[in-house]
Assembly symmetry: C2
Homo-oligomer: 314 residues x 2
């Protein structure tokens, strides 16, 4: 066996989504199942198709990025972003900032010190600022999958409706957390939040210090690699200091505004499903030929929520 | 003030290393100092120059990556890697794998299923495998800066000699942790570890489940953006499935093997210095015009250990 294959096996647990068939994935006796093995055994009803009104399709030159909005947590921001997208606000705007181990941010390039305020794209029917939606009252009606291992930042963490969430029963509040792939709303100095005309995606170690300080609009379901692998900006805070460095956004569309055949076919594993629970446990206590010391723990932002191409059959 | 500047300010705390002067960094009354402000006030003696015998200079087409070895924690691996580097083992080998939100890995491209075993580069005087150095007995003589906010994975975490470390007093063991920028040793199925001929750098959310399962050889001090912004591999586990996708390593040199004028001029903030302690506290409890809800907490892998160009004057 090549020296590299076991190395693959060693890393396979942490690999996002299903792995291609590979010798490394051949089950061995009593070993913890891999994500691929668990997903292959999942039932169709354990997957959900995002509501097309919450599904953004952002086309970059590198590829398509799918973002699911989180109206249960940030409804005013979801609605304002829908308004902007329906107006095609983001078309031909740009990724203006990529700061290593932090965020990729897109906005109107004129919205910058060197920009021309007279050329700022109008927000149309969208609001310029919104009330803060940094936290919300805990909704006990939403499905909740708690993690057992605690969290440095919050009294309780888990998953709800496919998003990583922190809770504080003392205050009765819950909030989306800044994990890898979460999409937040850039803003001015508060108390108002931004409009959603400038958004950022987390591309590094979860900056949990931003939790409860910015509104999180949703999560990238597919295409993170088109946001995370961009050249880092060399200007202050990772902004591209030369216009030619920016990545032009070809278009952003709401799936509900597209004809059926142009809507992204994607489904997301339900975070209250048995398969998701099994994936969490497999990651907490991995035992196989490679892992000798299972962590016995897992932190919120280390858990990937699988998304895959939806089969036409269901 | 442009709408973007406050957005910069909002992100400035999390920006790695010193920020360029910018309006966003102008101190305001009673606000928590930014990393830039704290670093500007640091004393020369709070910085250390890495031992040239522990400093790897990896030249990629994109730029130079500086890696500091951690012989206090993984001495056998440090020595074997030094041996490989002195033999110029890595020259013209390649980055063979970039898996999004996980690792960038470099190795001999022939060390692969499709590779030609007869073309494998010999390891020369270096050992093919080493005893595990996954944990070590807690060394109370090493400087230790404990973090106060706990950790999901280990009883205690903090910094020692410029590296993030976890400790378990019950077992008397301590180990380096898989934080962003840490460099680990890829290996076969154990119990032996790898030789150091294939290394990986963490480029995403800290995969702490790898702790105590792989040997960590060191940390990237500078040039992470040259490893983290590479195109993700489209093969299984992020391996580049086409040879032309690989990034050729021009050379890897040990600073101690280079003439003085070719040695990288770099210094690292001491993790037992007052300025580093102030940076941790500023990140735990940030208050300024932007932050309304300071986390009051910080997790191990969210703390950047500053490195900068060393002044010739000391």
């Amino acid at each position: 066996m090549s020296r590299l294959v076991p190395k693959l096996l060693g890393f396979s647990l942490l690999c996002a989504l299903a792995l291609p068939a590979a010798r490394a994935d051949t089950p061995t006796a009593n070993k913890t199942p891999t994500p691929k093995e668990l997903l292959e055994k999942s039932k169709p009803e354990e997957w959900r198709k995002p509501d097309p009104r919450n599904l953004l399709q952002m086309q970059l030159p590198q590829g398509k990025v799918l973002i699911e909005l989180a109206p249960d947590f940030t409804p005013l921001h979801a609605e304002n972003i829908r308004t902007l997208v329906k107006e095609h606000y983001f078309d031909k705007l740009a990724i203006v900032r990529v700061q290593d181990n932090f965020v990729t941010q897109w906005a109107d390039p004129e919205d910058d010190d060197k920009g021309d305020k007279n050329k700022l794209r109008p927000l149309g029917k969208a609001k310029k600022t919104l009330p803060p939606e940094y936290t919300r009252a805990i909704d006990t009606k939403l499905p909740w999958t708690a993690l057992p291992d605690g969290d440095v930042y919050a009294p309780e963490v888990g998953f709800s409706e496919g998003f990583p969430v922190a809770r504080d029963k003392a205050t009765g509040q819950e909030w989306l957390t800044h994990c890898y792939g979460m999409v937040g709303v850039a803003r001015d100095v508060g108390p108002e939040t931004g409009s959603g005309s400038s958004l950022y995606a987390v591309i590094g170690q979860a900056p949990r210090g931003l939790d409860r300080n910015l509104a999180i609009a949703g999560r990238v379901l597919q295409g993170m690699e088109f946001l995370s692998a961009l050249p880092r900006g060399t200007g202050p805070l990772g902004f591209y200091d030369k216009p030619e460095q920016r990545v032009t956004i070809e278009s952003v569309r709401l799936a509900s505004e597209l004809p059926e055949n142009e809507r992204a076919k994607v489904e997301v594993l339900r975070t209250d499903s048995p398969t998701f629970a099994a994936m969490i446990e497999a990651k907490r206590n991995r035992r196989d030929d490679f892992y000798r010391n299972p962590a016995g723990k897992i932190d919120l932002c280390s858990i990937n929520i699988p998304a895959r191409e939806a089969k036409a059959t269901h």
